[in-house]
Amino acid sequence: MIRQELLKKEKLDRQVMALRVAKEFQDGNVVNLGQGIPTLASNFVPAGREVIFHSENGVLGYGEITLPGEGDLDLVNASGQTVKPAPGMCFFDNAESFAIVRGGHLDITVMGAYQVSEKGDLCNYMVPERQVGTIGGAMDLAFGAKRVIIVMNHVTKNGEYRVVKKCSYPLTAPNCVDLIVTDIAVIEVTPKGLVLKEYAPGWTPEEVQEMTEPKLIIAKDCQEISLM
């Protein structure tokens, strides 16, 4: 059981999580962003790095998200938000779009999740109680991207583990996750197990462990999350 006081403790907000995710984008990377917090990460590409965003509906190199009602309805990301055109942008169909994903041409995919296991198994398409979910492009992205980054709250609203020993939800893809960014920690998935790299301000590695089902390996250089 996770202590109530830990559940109530202050955690990182969505913008800060997105900011931390964006630090992973390297110069020249091709990156696909899922709905929600991942999409926010496009606002925080570190200065001096040129990143090309891919959206599975068939566009590479799109610009900023426009204000609602101000965009061209023929220029949207996969979440249906209108985006601005940008130099170098190109369009293609869905077969081509997933050739890019599966063929090893996508450096990073950032997605949300319900559960991630210590082996890097990912569940993010269906809540079992609902009996139906939406696979969409999540499975292709999880199997195809060179690096899979998950951004999610560390535990559920009811205080259930989301970083688990073994997934109980239907799998999106086994053994695919590379990095987990949560509202209290940054965890790397390695063949030896989950390595705690960073923790949120005001948190300790022991408290992060208490919120995590599998045993964490504390990195030698484990430190407070740095956003700069």
Binding site: Q15, L19, A22, K23, Q35, T39, L40, S42, N43, F44, V45, P46, A47, E56, N57, G58, V59, E64, I65, T66, L67, P68, G69, D72, L73, D74, L75, V76, N77, A78, G80, Q81, F91, F92, D93, N94, A95, S97, F98, V101, R102, R130, Q131, V132, G133, T134, I135, G136, G137, A138, M139, D140, F143, G144, P170, L171, T172, A173, P174, L227
Partner: protein
């Protein structure tokens, strides 16, 4: 005799669509990419027990009218009027609310085959290209692998995925000519060119019909040989509307919130 694939009306374009037909519907999620007028015509035709092949199940015209979309119908017109027996689909339900498709699914009124998006595209492309099947790694170790032949190439496991064929493909393009050559506009390309030629009859709904020779041969995306009929949309009139379904209303407001959040703090943080 000059080749002429241009058809005068949407009703004429779908006149031979029959009960129990398999229909591919192009587009992605937002209505701009979808053959809205053809879907309306199929609905008017009154056919039922359809098998549909599409990326998503539709949000319903109300939501698109609110955005001022001139042609607001999507897959939901066939869903809510219970014309679909089985859907081969990648994104059937919404993360935000219980849509009409999910309601029918729960009531046992619709069958579903859920396919990962890229696999859906490739299986359709396989039909268009005359392939017997394709080996795809996506889905190994998940529910998607059930009942499929597995094969190892170069130490990696793949699933044998079979072509998805159809009687009709309804697609939306930006411009077309009397030969059926098509160009698209922006992200409204999506599944449309993939489906062109994957069905026995491909019907293209275009924003504009142009003279043969007007389309730049370097820029034509769909060669006319894949297309059987071309029909032009009427002049667009911006629609207005309100959302009647409470759940859909809540979902739309969540969508708008996410949207605003994503446009906030552009110059903040690491920059």
């Amino acid at each position: 005799m000059p080749i002429n694939k241009i058809v005068a009306s949407f009703d004429e374009a779908v006149a031979d669509v029959f009960d129990g037909a398999t229909i591919m519907v192009g587009g992605f999620g937002t209505v701009a990419s979808i053959p809205s007028c053809l879907l309306e015509a199929v609905y008017r035709k009154g056919v039922k027990n359809l098998t549909t092949v599409s990326n998503a199940s539709g949000f319903g015209a109300d939501i698109w009218k609110l955005q001022g979309a001139p042609f607001p119908e999507d897959m939901d017109i066939l869903v809510r009027n219970e014309r679909i027996k089985k859907a081969i689909i990648s994104a059937p339900v919404s993360a935000l609310y219980v849509n009409n498709f999910e309601k029918l699914l729960r009531a046992g009124k619709i069958e579903i085959e859920m396919v990962p998006q890229g696999t859906l595209a490739e299986r359709i492309r396989a039909a268009k290209a005359g392939l017997g099947g394709v080996y795809i790694p996506v889905g190994v170790g998940t529910v998607v692998e059930q009942g499929k032949e597995k094969r190892v190439f170069d130490g990696k496991e793949y699933l044998l995925e079979l072509p998805i064929k159809a009687d009709f493909a309804l697609i939306h393009a930006h411009k077309g000519d009397r030969w059926g050559n098509l160009v698209y506009r922006g992200t409204s390309r999506t599944f449309n060119p993939v489906m062109a030629g994957a069905a026995k009859v491909t019907i293209a709904e275009v924003d504009e019909i142009v003279e043969l020779g007007e389309l730049d041969p370097e820029a034509i995306v769909t060669p006319g040989v894949y297309v059987d009929r071309v029909v032009q949309r009427p002049k667009p009139v911006r629609t207005q509307g309100e959302i009647k379904d409470e759940q859909a209303k809540a979902s739309y407001s969540k969508f708008s919130e996410d949207y605003k959040r994503a446009t906030m703090g552009k110059k903040g943080g690491a920059q």
